[in-house]
């Protein structure tokens, strides 16, 4: 009897020890995140002011700012969203609603899964060869936006597919039973009900794209851009200009990278400040995604 009690105590000791180890392991990551954010804040918060947000980069760290960087980020992400959303959603809809179990869909699926794991810099090389050299889009916002769109495409496709899969078959059957065609069912049921999940996936994709540096460097985005791209609205007819798509640009993470690589302490402070802005943008987008996921989950309960 006491043998068993001893054994139980032995087993439970290791069990408890593991509980501690497991908890500590989990806290390692969380701890790092906190230390990182505090370090960034301590290094760079003092540099954050209106001047910083509205100046161009400069040789003098006190005068440098991130204006061209965040405008560039915004415009590039605009192109990214406009490209990735329709293409990704369309692909997701095809795979879930139209695809049959054949070799073609298998190949598409293997490819999508593989692309999700391709290093981002390889996307940069692809863009260099395809968009810059072949299509001759040059080192422009269009190229940057399309590159990031390709990067987040697998994410959008997966988010679309999962949202669509969550819709019970009974809804589809109800629609068909009333005489609707496949496209009508997709248009009026599938897309509206999966919007929440798709939106969440898109926002998470965009938040990843905000921080992407390597592919943008590869296509030749310059790190010293002391001007803004051409404005989209012009005073003459036709009032809308697409010139900005072809302009050179820079983005937030590249600006931060550029400053981190300089030895002067003042530039490193700039880098920290840029990092804070970048982190805030990322946190806001992630928070937005979580909020949308929560709201849509409340509205639609399968």
């Amino acid at each position: 009897m006491s043998d068993i009690k001893k054994r139980i105590r032995y087993n439970k000791f290791w069990n408890y020890l593991f509980l501690i180890i497991g908890l500590l392991s989990t806290l390692v990551g969380l701890l790092l995140l906190c230390v990182l954010m505090i370090d960034l804040a301590l290094d760079g918060a003092s540099r954050l002011n209106y001047q910083f947000l509205t100046s161009y980069p400069s040789r003098f760290p006190e005068e440098a700012g991130i204006l061209s960087a965040w405008v560039g980020s915004f415009l590039v992400l605009l192109v990214t969203a406009l490209a990735a959303i329709p293409l990704g959603v369309a692909a997701g809809i095809y795979l879930e609603e139209y695809g049959r179990k054949n070799w073609l869909t298998d190949i598409i699926e293997i490819n999508t899964a593989n692309l999700a794991g391709v290093p981002s810099i390889v996307y940069g090389l692809l863009a260099l060869g395809l968009f810059v050299n072949f299509f001759k889009f040059g080192e422009s916002i269009l190229t940057g936006g399309l590159t990031l769109a390709l990067l987040i495409l697998p994410m959008v496709i997966m988010a679309t597919r999962e949202s669509i899969r969550a819709i019970p078959n009974s809804i589809r059957e109800a629609s068909y039973a009333l005489g609707a065609t496949k496209w009508q069912t997709v248009q009026w049921h599938i897309i509206p009900y999966s919007t929440g999940g798709i939106l969440t996936g898109v926002i998470i994709g965009i938040s990843r794209a905000i921080g992407e540096t390597a592919p943008i460097i590869t296509i030749g985005a310059l790190t010293f851009i002391a001007f803004l791209p051409a404005p989209p609205l012009t005073p003459e007819f036709p009032f809308l200009s697409f010139q900005w798509l072809m302009d050179p640009f820079t983005v937030m993470p590249i600006q931060m990278f550029n400053w981190v690589s300089r030895p002067q302490q003042a530039f490193q402070q700039n880098a920290a400040a840029a990092g804070i802005v970048l982190m805030l943008m990322t946190l806001i987008m992630n928070g937005l995604a979580i909020y949308i996921r929560y709201r849509f989950r409340k509205k639609i309960k399968w």
Binding site: N11, K12, W14, N15, F18, I21, G22, S25, T26, V28, G29, L30, L32, L36, D39, L40, A90, A91, Y94, Y98, G99, I107, I108, N111, T112, A113, N114, L115, G117, V118, S120, I121, V122, L125, L126, L128, G129, L130, L153, I157, T181, K182, W183, I204, I210, G211, E212, T213, A214, I217, T218, P253, M256, F257, V260, S261, Q268, G275, M279, N286
Partner: protein, 296 residues
């Protein structure tokens, strides 16, 4: 009759359009392969395969250029190795803890924070590795040089934990409850159940998670570009500067290699090496993940 035919045509057209979008992913993969291969082909016209694989120096921008890929591969493997030493055990421990031990509320709080770990831009991690971790480590390891493989390796490791832990955890949660109950009914503790029953049952999923981690580490660019240095060297010493395949490509693109020169083509040679490494792992991971769905 006529409007029914028009409607059928419209349906077919829409389906074709959607199929084109789906085929995009195939097109992207093909483009990657074609571009990498054709530029590399140009590269290998000028540099022999033998030199590429056996030469021990990578100095393509020097007056007497050497084109041995080994130093870059060594840099990649060294940083990846350090990262995985951190990420794989910790990732698995976290997954076991969250899946078998943690109370429900704790999971709900911890999981989103871990996801945040994966969402932080890699430049920020690079900044942290260079300007916080390296100086801190130098206090304990005086031989540590300003650019080294250890600091970015550790940061990459922690950055990858959420990838490993979330896929592993999904795999463990998929093990049906009645198998767990079978173990508990025999008087086993959570620890014994987790390691003797759950992990073996969830093996393919956990292996897939490990492979995702490996892929992610191999492909990481900015953390190593910022904190590991720009000097390729064939070494296994984590205290020295190294350069990875990814960081090299960044270095060239920041510079001024004109289109068409050998220096320009080197980035594609490095790129295709990288792509082949990750492709192998990705396919393995995909096959493993398909296997979990079959077992249950």
């Amino acid at each position: 009759m006529d409007h029914i035919r028009k409607r059928k045509l419209k349906e077919k057209a829409i389906e074709a359009l959607l199929l084109l979008c789906a085929l995009l992913s195939v097109f992207i993969t093909l483009s990657i392969v074609v571009i990498l291969a054709s530029e590399s082909f140009g590269f290998f016209q000028e540099v022999s395969l033998a030199e590429f694989f056996t030469e021990r120096q990578w100095t393509p921008l020097f007056a007497d250029p050497k084109f041995g890929i080994l130093p870059l591969v060594a840099g990649t493997l060294l940083t990846t190795g350090i990262a995985l030493t951190v990420a794989l055990p910790l990732g698995l421990l976290v997954a076991v803890y969250l899946s078998e031990f943690a109370p429900h509320q704790a999971r709900e709080i911890i999981k989103p924070i871990l996801e945040l770990l994966a969402a932080v831009p890699t430049v920020v991690y690079g900044y942290f590795a260079l300007l916080f971790l390296t100086p801190m480590l130098q206090q304990f390891i005086p031989d540590l040089s300003g650019f080294n493989a250890l600091s970015p390796g550790i940061i990459m490791g922690i950055m990858i934990i959420p990838y490993v832990s979330s896929v592993s955890e999904d795999a463990m949660k998929a093990v049906p409850m009645h198998i767990r109950e079978g173990s508990y009914a025999m008087g086993a503790t959570k620890l014994q159940t987790a390691f003797r029953v759950i992990i073996p049952s969830a093996f393919s999923g956990i292996a897939a998670a490990f492979i995702i981690g490996i892929s992610r580490a191999i492909g990481e660019t900015m953390v190593v570009a910022i904190a590991a240095g720009g000097m390729p060297s064939l070494t296994a010493n984590p205290l020295e500067p190294v350069q990875t395949l990814t960081a090299y490509i960044v270095q060239v693109c920041l510079g001024d290699a004109p289109h068409g020169t050998v220096a320009y083509k080197t980035i594609f040679a490095a790129g295709i090496t990288l792509f082949c490494m990750t492709l192998g792992f990705n396919l393995l991971g995909y096959w493993l993940r398909k296997r979990i769905r079959e077992v249950y």
